[in-house]
Symmetry: C2
Subunit: 114 residues, 2 copies
DNA sequence: CCGTTGTTTCAATAATCGTTGAAATATGGA
DNA sequence: TCCATATTTCAACGATTATTGAAACAACGG
């Protein structure tokens, strides 16, 4: 993932309601949810929601398809995966998120402590 | 990591110059870099940089210490690690970033109070 | 002390953001 | 066809953002 795309994706997730939307989409899996269902679940106005959907879609974090009268939004896991990859690679030491090693890119296992 | 902190951290990283700053700090390891060195490396005005440092510090992504006339900034890997953990846990399927298991019954759709 | 260097503070500015209400569009059913 | 439902578009609005220039503050050397 390019830096530009990472910034866009980070910005898309860096907002309360939008992060809620995305988390809900993730929990709903590939089938997704109708805009209305999301509006109800998160108690957001439909036009506000459209605004946030657009941001998520532009960031490649969501897809949309029509089904009858409803628009069904779903998470794009691939992009999220790339983002986590970018962060791990560029914003952590490299392997997990340890301080950058002085020299050796040792191929060690590093379990993340929750 | 709490959702609120995650949003703050995401917002801190969701900006071109700031992401550059943080990446540079990560590459510099725990020793950090002086504000001036960062300003030179990224060609940013010192006051602009102070603004971005503040954001990173508020998000827990950077620390600062004085050394003589210089302020030395360093990445806080622990926070970054927590953020990646939050994303993996909440915005991915759970383990990596695979689709979540589906089949959650839809929520009822009811609004319009009398 | 004074001047220099390194950084921050402050006020101002244009640009972008998140939300709202009203109106428009699209689909399906009677 | 007309109507109801589901969602989007549009024009506003106040709030926040990133950047700038000028001034202030802090630490050191002479």
């Amino acid at each position: 993932m390019e830096k530009t795309d990472a910034v866009t994706a980070l910005a898309a997730l860096a907002q309360d309601n939008r992060l809620d939307v995305f988390r809900l989409l993730v929990r709903s899996g590939p089938e997704g949810l109708t805009a209305g269902a999301i509006a109800d679940a998160l108690d957001l106005a439909p036009n506000t929601l459209t605004f946030h959907f657009d941001r998520l879609r532009m960031a490649g974090l969501a897809t949309v398809r029509r089904e009858g009268r409803s628009m069904i939004y779903a998470a794009r896991f691939e992009t999220m995966n790339s983002l986590v990859g970018f962060l791990t690679e560029n914003c952590c030491g490299g392997v997990s998120c340890a301080p950058a090693s002085s020299s050796k890119p040792a191929r060690k296992r590093n379990k993340a402590p929750a």
